[in-house]
Symmetry: C2
DNA sequence: AACAGAAATGTGACCGCTAACATAAACGTG
DNA sequence: CACGTTTATGTTAGCGGTCACATTTCTGTT
């Protein structure tokens, strides 16, 4: 029995005022006599009226909706970010569309167009597949954009950057302090800051300690459990001299631990494993995983807050938001 | 530089036709001469026009948007479901709002109202906090609703049900077959089918094998890593006679494995652990986790497909969609 | 009491589209 | 070639709001 929608006009005639007065009551803070305001509010309650966001959006050109683009919500890193974004958005009655790109450039383009057609007020992007130029084009003729862990230079794009380089440095230094010199790295293919910084941090820290990085010890694989598992097995069977592995993320590290186990390699005695992201599972694995920690929820939160700031001051250019990392030592090293 | 939106009228005058003709071209399949169609399409491309979904929605009363309500996207169970929903939705150019309730009834109500105000075309609900009555009220005066793992009887609500009872039975039978008789269960508080069926399956299977369930061995805790960890430690220190634990979900089980380890209890020799959900991590833990498996992605997929069916045939009442489970035996039992 | 000025309310247009109907063009047929 | 039919295109209204401006009502002042 979907009785047809109650409009502002229904309320108006019920309360004996004009539709505009109802609109004023709805949007608060307009000057309307308390008496009539009460009359209108009563009518609203009586009829069970609530305004159509669609209609509001059409005229105001704001949808109170944002898009969040992630590579894969299935990755604990992304969904903690997503929670941060969602909770912050919800508090201001914004809704968020979460879109997965599956780390595939076409997916990312599709999703951007879809979001464009849905007319979101802004976009938060935490993914790495599209090129910078594509992103710039998007920023150019579109909406405010907050980008996580990338470097792009455009007045309409704002950045939230975790100090990845420092994280990689801390990780490798920790391994070196533990006496390791044969340190491998499992990374994720790609040429974007998020990838590159980890690798740079790894290589440069080794060099700073007079260890020459061995390119054969740097393996690229998909950044998930299975990727880490397989890469570890291949790596260790070809290079048994390796005594420590630093991974792109915790997912790979957890796969790596299991990979070691299945080859009879003891963690951390025979091979130490060091992750990145410090997801919740890492404290519960056996052995528990040392990792580089930062608050993913806060990443999402800050990104959303920045987006709100951009809505309020469309012509301001904002400085990047830096986020610090710290080393968490557990059993795997 | 946001040049103001290109409308259907701009295209119309550029192509020298009426706006309605443009609309016809947009919505395909109308009878319009190929010649003019081409003219219009050229104009569309030339001007870079794309239609405003907002305006379309306002007149058609369809937003091509659905809401997905989950307890916590941070739980791997939910995000695999979410992926199934999203991918299926996207294929038809539907977008989905994911909302978290944090397993809190107020949160769920808030979220339902927010979705109502956003005017989604339908809702998929995979959570358990609101009461059946609240849900019925929602279904009554709202949109098509697909509910996962609950029993509610309303023509506007459709069900997708994983065979939880059978899962619990398989799990407990497996433990019994392994020779266990002192089998505890870690569950999640709540009186809803999703919870109750697991517990029933547990108790009734024990009874079917002439084992009297011991209520002290049934512990309620939050359904996450930490909940499983703590509950296991309390349980085993009070009841060292327990030799097997069946948990509400894999998150708790992974916590339980770690809990055992930290007490010096060997899994599976001293205590077997059996999970439920078969999340991806379960194959990678150490020891790997036996679990009850079902395809969570498919759950989301089916739910979304059902929602589409409900859009197409608003007055049909659909039968619940059943989903089978299977036992996956790994190292923890 | 008369009148200016502020406060409260009402009116019409418009956001960008589709639905329903009206009209014009093209086509066949006796 | 006059006529009804079909097919293609145009016109108008309205979805449910907000905005800008017009109008009315209420103040306070001389």
């Amino acid at each position: 029995m979907v009785r047809s929608r109650i409009t502002i006009y229904d309320v108006a005639s019920y309360a004996g005022v004009s539709h505009q007065t109802v609109s004023r009551v709805n949007n608060q803070s307009e000057r309307v006599k308390t008496e009539t305001r009460e009359k209108v509010e009563a009518a609203i309650k009586e009829l069970g009226y609530n305004p159509s966001r669609l209609a509001q959006s059409l005229v105001t050109q704001k949808t109170k909706t944002i898009g969040l683009i992630v590579a894969d919500i299935t990755n604990p890193f992304f969904f903690e970010v997503a929670r941060g974004v969602q909770d912050t958005a919800l508090a201001q009655e914004y809704n968020v569309f979460v879109c997965n790109t599956d780390d595939n450039p076409q997916g990312e383009q599709d999703v951007l167009t879809l979001l464009a057609s849905q007319e979101v007020d802004g976009v938060i992007l935490s993914t790495a597949s599209s090129t910078d130029e594509e992103l710039l084009t998007f920023a150019e003729n579109y909406k405010p954009l907050v980008v996580i862990n990338r470097d792009i230079d455009h007045p309409k794009a704002s950045l939230v950057n975790v100090d990845i380089y420092k994280g990689a440095k801390l990780a490798v230094e920790h391994l070196i302090n533990r006496g390791h010199t044969h340190i491998a790295m499992l990374s994720h293919e790609g040429h974007l800051p998020d990838h590159v910084r980890r690798v740079h941090g790894y290589k440069e820290t080794l060099e700073a300690h007079d260890i020459t990085p061995n390119d054969e010890w740097l393996v690229l694989a998909p950044p998930n459990l299975m990727g880490g598992y397989k890469a570890t097995q291949e790596l260790l069977s070809e290079h048994p001299e390796i005594t420590a592995i630093f991974t792109y993320n915790d997912l790979m590290a957890i796969g790596a631990i299991r990979g070691c186990h299945d080859m009879g390699v003891k963690v951390p005695q025979d091979c130490a494993i060091m992750g990145f992201d410090d997801i919740k599972f890492s404290a519960m694995t056996q052995p528990s995983l040392s990792s580089i920690s930062f608050d993913k929820y806060v990443v999402g939160q800050k990104a959303m807050q920045r987006l709100f700031e951009m809505f309020d001051e469309p012509n301001t250019t904002f400085a990047p938001i830096p986020l610090d990392v710290k080393l968490v030592i557990r059993e795997s090293t």
